[in-house]
Amino acid sequence: MEKRETMWESYRRRGLSRRTFIKGCVALTSLMGLSSGMVSKVVEAAETKQLPVVIWIHGHECTGCDESFIRSAAPLASDLILNNVALEYDHLLSAGSGEPFEEHLEKTIQAYNGKYILAVEGAVATKGSGIYCMSGGHPFLETLQRAAKGAAAIIAYGTCAVSGGIQSAAPNPTGSAGIGHFIGAKDVVNVPGCPPIPEVMTGVVMHVALFGKLPPLDSQGRPKQFYGNRIHDTCYRRPFFDAGLFADSYDDAGSKAGWCLYKLGCRGPETYNSCGNIRWFQGMSYPVQSGAPCIGCANANFWNQGPFSDRLPKYGPLGDIDKIGAGLAVATTAGVAAHGVLSVYQRSRRDAEAAESDEVKGGEDK
């Protein structure tokens, strides 16, 4: 098998200078949130590790994750897929199609066995042996299992691949699920979000490409550097929450002033994502900054946690648990009061009966 080239070799081959290469490494260091002292390590990693092959497969999805990926600004999509990785298979960008394309997938899996990165976008449709998601004449489930076998690392891109996503929302008509259970004992980097932030998606690939290993993951397999904080804890509107300043309705004074959207149902307090720090489009905005409460799209099962407009679910005319709870408390109080009255009545009757029987008994004694 031919040796895969390193990032440095790739720079040399493409006629780029050592200076350009170092500059690229410096940019990557800061992208990955590492201190400048780490530059030499990044340079070393880029020089010595092989340029990775990426296979990107699609299950039940909307291609929003692909679209997000190609909106990355640092690294730019072109730099990433033409200079830093070899994206050998991807339904959105690859030139090929049909039979030769499927053959190319098989060849790539064999040629780079144990060495390629498998990126998975979309959920696995499990019902009916996978007939709800067919590609190349066979179920996606089969493609996933075949490609996962020889993968050095697997990246689950988007909430669909991580935990099933929109198609797995109740009643989950196609039995869709995240890929976790279908890839054997492989390590998975979970990159949830609907879709994930572009630079988070590319950042994960860059980390694997540079360091030759998965980025540090949290207990749910998510890269800590991107999913280590709740949006609420990194939100620029957090001071307004702490100060009790809220938007009470869309387009009210609080909404215009950019106050906290908690009362409009914001899921920031439950959601782990980089929206609050990296934000979208290089710090341009994120839903909260645009006045829209977070819907928690990086959370497993968030589709079943609606309505998004309320922090507590409402039960039609009954209202939410606070309304129901207050009602139950009143009802309970009334209930115990009634019970108390009945108890007093019961005791007085009981005492009367007892007194009567005492008298009878006393009479007999005499």
């Binding site: 909307c62 007939i131 009643p171 309705s249 869309y250 909404s255 215009k256 979208w280 645009s290």
Partner: protein
């Protein structure tokens, strides 16, 4: 006779399979089928959800035309509740819709379609000096100097302009050579690069186009910045039933929209106009005219038979779709149907609210789709739509290993939508045909600036190609060309609505949301609504039924369902199949012409296969256990 399968068709959204019977002697396609091979069941997921959240769920139908379904959804729910959105919300939504169209068309042309026309391998033979000269020639000859929206431009000079130095093209060429030499072709792997179609254009065109492919890969992101400002992110920006969530305030630094934020939108709109006018349109027309000159005017699909469009961009806020308000204030009055375009029997029929509601006008059949109706052979209006899944497997192979699908039976997860019993094509081509024909027949009184621009575009392209619109439009090249024209138009429309937004804010109106009908207590017990939107890929419609504050039925008919649908026993082939049948294939084993014509529709399969079964019938399960064999559970 040769049976040829292309599965997966890539560089599209979702999972598509095409099969055809090709006469090897003549290269004629005898029969072709188009099959959507995935079904996600989102219509079932929509049931019992809060209608105010519908946009978030249904937007996830598609991440490529993200925003399209959210917009149609909020329009449908607002129609059901009778909500009139504020002026600003209408302008903002139109800016978002138009900037989606700009970005989506541009990405389609360069990244999803270009590699069917140009090849990085051909580019290796190009002379960089000649390519630089070609760039100049192309800008001189093919830049369409149409009169756009006559507003004031905030841009001093075009920030992105095609580079035409030999050094630049030599560098790009060296890069392509290095990639080819490394044998790691990456995204350029496994294409039929030796196909004769790639010889149709000179090597310099290939080099120029590949260079632009790379540049646009890094630029396109800037075109959807309005989504990030107004909706917080892209893909999948946020919407609001009753308006938009992005409050406007010139008094608050923290406001979602203030001058600083509007300046970002303005910059993005200007970038879009520049990229389209200086890259997309010249590249498109240079390549397209070469094909027309080579006599490649096939692949017309249903453009000559029946095209449908719903009308685009309400100029001002309107108070409903089912009551016709939407259709009265359109910037682009392409709400109509043109039958038999280019023939003496050509007909134009205006499309309006009655057509959306009449069960005779729009209906769907499932003759060849993996569903069944209670009444066999029936066609049902989406509001009465019913679906029982009925997966029948392929003609040859097993349910999980297809060799050949059953063209005579069921073979797709797409239903077959019909206009008065006829199959139709939708998309930018349909919009341009409708406007052109409507005007030609004198039925377009007082054309708006946008309609005038469209007519001018058609006229200029006809002069450039030196053929009549009736000849070049209903072809594959025409479909690709009108998409470019639509892109140019949409960039101007963004600018138009941006100016309207500024003017309105200037007048003191900063409202973006009408919250009168926000609380469920203000909703009728039962209601239904329709939302329509001319999405990048064509006429999109969402139907919603709401009962007791919850969605009881949600239906969509999306552009790709119109175009990619399986055949109908009475009405014949859908647009994909028809265009494949009309296409001449030079090498049956390498059906580049087929994937090219299919991609000329910009297929969005995930959009196409998600509707129906809002009634929640029990789904049949096909079990293909290797031990117990294949059987169907009821």
């Amino acid at each position: 006779m040769k049976h040829v399968v292309v599965d997966p068709v890539t560089r599209i959204e979702g999972h598509l399979r095409v099969e055809m019977q090709i006469d090897e002697g003549t290269g004629k396609v005898i029969d072709a089928i188009s099959s959507g091979t995935a079904w996600r069941g989102l219509e079932l997921v929509m049931k019992d959800r809060d209608p105010r959240d519908a946009w978030a769920y249904i937007q996830r139908i598609c991440g490529v035309c993200t925003t399209a379904h959210a917009l149609a959804s909020v329009r449908a729910v607002e129609d059901a509740f009778g909500i009139k959105i504020p002026k600003n919300a209408n302008y903002i939504r139109n800016i978002m819709a138009a900037s989606l169209t700009v970005q989506d068309h541009l990405v389609h042309f360069y990244h999803l379609h270009a590699l069917d026309w140009v090849s990085p391998l051909e580019a290796l033979a190009a002379d960089p000096v000649a390519t630089a000269n070609l760039q100049t020639t192309v800008l001189n000859a093919y830049k369409l100097n149409v009169t756009g929206y006559p507003g004031i431009s905030t841009e001093a000079y075009p920030k992105d302009f095609p580079k035409s130095t030999p050094q630049y093209y030599a560098t790009v060429q060296a890069k392509i050579k290095a990639i080819v030499d490394s044998k790691q072709l990456g995204i350029f792997a496994a294409q039929w690069w030796d196909h004769p179609d790639y010889k149709l254009l000179p090597p310099e065109v290939h080099l120029m186009a590949v260079a632009h492919y790379l540049e646009m890969l890094d630029k396109h992101r800037e075109l959807v910045a309005p989504h990030v400002i107004f909706g917080g992110k892209n893909p999948h920006p946020h919407y609001l039933v009753g308006g938009m969530p992005c409050s406007i305030s010139m008094d608050d630094g923290n406001a979602p929209v203030n001058t600083d934020r509007l300046a970002i939108v303005d910059r993005s709109i200007n970038t879009g106009r520049t990229l389209i006018n200086n890259y997309y349109i010249p590249d498109l027309l240079a390549i397209g005219s070469a094909y027309v000159k080579a006599g490649r005017v096939d692949g017309g699909g249903l453009a000559k038979k029946c095209v449908v469009a719903f009308g685009a961009y309400p100029i001002e806020e309107y108070n409903g779709t089912t009551n016709g308000g939407f259709f009265k204030k359109l910037l682009v009055r392409c709400n109509g149907v043109v039958e038999n375009f280019g023939t003496p029997n050509v007909k134009f029929i205006e499309f309006n609210q009655e057509d959306l509601q009449s069960p005779d006008t729009i209906s769907e059949s499932v003759d060849h789709a993996w569903y069944e109706y209670d009444k066999q052979g029936a066609s049902l209006h989406p509001w009465e739509g019913e679906t029982k899944e009925h997966f029948t497997g392929p003609k040859d192979g097993t349910p999980t290993m297809w060799k050949e699908l059953n063209a005579g039976g069921k073979y797709s997860w797409l239903k077959t939508p019909k206009w008065h019993g006829k199959l139709a094509e939708v998309g930018p081509l349909a919009r341009y045909i409708v406007i052109y024909q409507r005007n030609k027949m004198g039925l377009l009184p007082d054309p708006t600036w946008a309609e005038q621009m469209m007519l001018q575009q058609i006229d200029m392209v006809s002069k450039l190609l030196n053929v009549q619109p009736e000849v070049w439009m209903p072809t594959m090249v025409g479909r690709v060309a009108t998409r470019g024209l639509d892109c140019q138009l949409s960039a101007e429309i963004s600018k138009f609505f941006f100016d309207k937004l500024i003017t309105n804010i200037k007048s003191g109106d900063t409202a973006v949301a009408n919250m009168e009908k926000w609380e469920p207590s203000t909703w009728p017990k039962e209601c239904k609504g329709v939302g329509v939107y001319e999405a990048p890929r064509g006429a999109l419609s969402h139907w919603v039924n709401i009962k007791d504050g919850k969605i009881s039925n949600y239906q969509c008919i999306v552009p790709t369902t119109w175009n990619a649908c399986p055949r109908d026993d009475k009405a014949g082939h859908g647009a994909f199949e028809q265009s494949m049948i009309e296409t001449h294939v030079q090498i049956p084993d390498k059906p580049l012409e087929i994937v090219k014509v299919v991609r000329s529709f910009d297929p969005c399969m995930a959009c196409a296969t998600h509707f129906y079964n809002a009634k929640g019938e029990k789904i049949q399960t096909v079990t293909t256990d290797p031990y117990t064999g294949t059987h169907v559970e009821k």
